[in-house]
Amino acid sequence: MNRYILKRLVYLAVTLLVITTLTFFLMHSLPGTPFDEDKISRLSAAQQQQIYASYGLDKPLYIQFFRYLTNMFKGDFGTSTLYLGMPVSRIVLNRILPSALIGFQAVLFGVVIGLVLGIIAAYRHNTSMDYMTMIISVLGISIPNFVVAALLQYFLGFKLGWFPVAYWESYANSILPSLALSFGVIAQIARFIRTEMLSVLQQDYILMAQSKGLSPAKILVKHALRNSILPVVTILGSIVVNLLTGSLAVESIYSVPGIGSLFVDTIKANDYSTILGLTVFYSAFYVVVILIIDILYCLIDPRIRLASAKE
């Protein structure tokens, strides 16, 4: 197992390098420069030249790339051109924390509630409980999360005053955005667990467990759950990555200084170094999450361990 993880970590480094390279050239092939060209056109040709030179943009792309890589290995991700002068690592760190907090809480709420709902729905298949879960689940995926966020803000925040309407000043500010984001997670988890569990509940080993005289609760938790959780773990990977890296709409509704808008703003503003820094961070995070999920697979289903050990 340790060797396997080590091997994956080497892969990870290579993957990151490829991603960085591709992103670098893709970013530079986006139209435009990081500057307000309209304003720059007011400057003399010599002045314009100076500006490009001061960012190193006058050099051929491959030289820029190698310079970026060398700096990156030294731990220097450059400075932003949108947030002028701000080191990229500082921007990313500042902005990732709020997103990570609300994302983590949303996943936590979502997984716990989703699991409970999904299990109950499967166990009470075709009862009102089941239908209710399915309704929640369908609404959860079909109502855009910004509408949920706006409704929660209006009713729980503004009308009832239970939670702050917006801003990012204390822990209480993180609850509504987390709730808004967890809605979709609940929906997805509940559905996947329900479906998978319905088929697991038909397996002989469930009958076997019943014939052992085990209580329904024990059968559900010890026998059915672990066998139904695999697709959930798979889907959880992308849920975690998406949520921890921010949701533009929900963050802007609650004025959370998160990473959601940073992605969009910096891409649209051709802020090369910030995008690259974000991408490196994001993909490292993603690859690590995938690695954790693959390890979880093995932990959850012993049959998979063999398959991956053979690799």
Binding site: Y205, K212, S215
Partner: protein, 332 residues
């Protein structure tokens, strides 16, 4: 004889999308302590449903609609699933057909054994482990200590069935129900498993209901045999009575279809046709449509139980004196 388990006129219905299936239509069984009873029939005859009905393991869509089940004299017919939990696994336990699917793939062998001990005994973790290893040893698994912490997929089919047997025997049950325990296994393994079951039965005196579609495996192991067809028992008796004095055409057909090693060239005997549709069961004898000696009456009226001896009975119109007139005793 004081009966350990008595099933009287049990009826079980299953709700499906196509309609209500009358899976079990009045089955009666008697099991004495230390006895091995074989229930024989082809798939769909309702034999699995009968035993699942006894243990209350029916699917949610199924239910007992009539009859009685007595266990050690107690009426357990209307026991809830919750009430049955104290009996299942400790007093009565079950072995399933396919060892490949009846073990939880994500739980170690040891855990699956000690789980049942934990449920029904007061043993502590250490004792449970010791008992589990002992059981593995008992069912003939080598390196039981090592196997204890392995997962089902690391074991062969035969070994898994031994594990299932170990689980079933963990609490020294009085009744062991084995639902086609050898069907999914290789022929050589089949014999080993049957041997194991017999030796364990001799050792512990557990009464066994052995469900099988293969009359061949019955001869060496069972004392009594009930033959099921179309949700009913059509003939019942001791092994000798069934093998040497079977009277029901279906039983005879089953006997004829046992491959005989001596007659290599002979074509394998089969019973033509398919079992009846139990959503709309035939009015008369369920076997009438396939019976080589069917009469008009068989299609319209259900035959009554005829006692041949104290232990041997069958339901067939051929036993009616009027039938003899027609056929003129042409039986060999």
């Amino acid at each position: 004889m004081n009966q350990l388990l008595e099933v009287d006129n049990l009826k079980i219905n299953l709700e499906t999308q196509s309609g209500t299936v009358q899976a079990v239509r009045g089955v009666s069984l008697k099991l004495a302590p230390k006895q091995i009873l074989a229930v024989v029939g082809e798939s769909g005859s309702g034999k699995s449903m009968t035993v699942k009905g006894i243990l209350k393991l029916l699917p949610k869509t199924g239910g007992i609609v009539g009859g009685k089940i007595l266990f050690e004299g107690k009426d357990i017919t209307d026991y809830s699933v919750k009430q049955m939990r104290s009996i299942n696994g400790s007093e009565m336990s079950m072995i399933f057909q396919d060892p490949m699917t009846s073990l939880n793939p994500t739980m170690t062998i040891g855990k699956q054994i000690s789980e049942v001990l934990r449920e029904h005994t007061k043993m502590n973790a250490k004792q449970r482990r010791a008992r589990a290893v002992e059981l593995l040893n008992l069912v003939g698994i080598s390196y039981p200590e090592k196997r204890y912490s392995q997962y089902p997929h690391q074991l062969s089919g035969g070994m898994r069935q031994r594990v299932v047997i170990a689980i079933a025997l963990a609490c020294n049950p009085k009744v062991l129900i084995a639902d086609e325990p050898t069907t999914a296994l290789d022929v050589t393994i089949q014999a080993q498993i049957l041997d194991l079951m017999r030796s364990l039965q001799e050792k512990f005196g557990t009464a066994i209901i052995l469900i099988t579609h293969n009359l061949g495996v019955v001869a060496n192991i069972a004392q009594n045999v009930s033959v099921m067809y179309g949700g009913m028992i059509v003939e019942s008796g001791t092994v000798e009575e069934i093998f040497y004095d079977a009277k029901h055409p279906y039983t005879l057909g089953l006997l004829a279809s046992i491959p005989n090693v001596d007659e290599k060239d002979k074509e394998l005997n089969i019973i033509p046709g398919t079992p009846p549709d139990l959503i709309d069961p035939p009015k008369g004898c369920p076997f009438s449509s396939r019976c080589p000696r069917a009469m008009e009456v068989c299609h319209q009226y259900a035959p009554e139980k005829t006692m041949v001896s104290g232990t041997h009975w069958l339901s067939c119109w051929l036993m009616d004196p009027r039938a003899d007139k027609q056929h003129g005793g042409d039986r060999a």
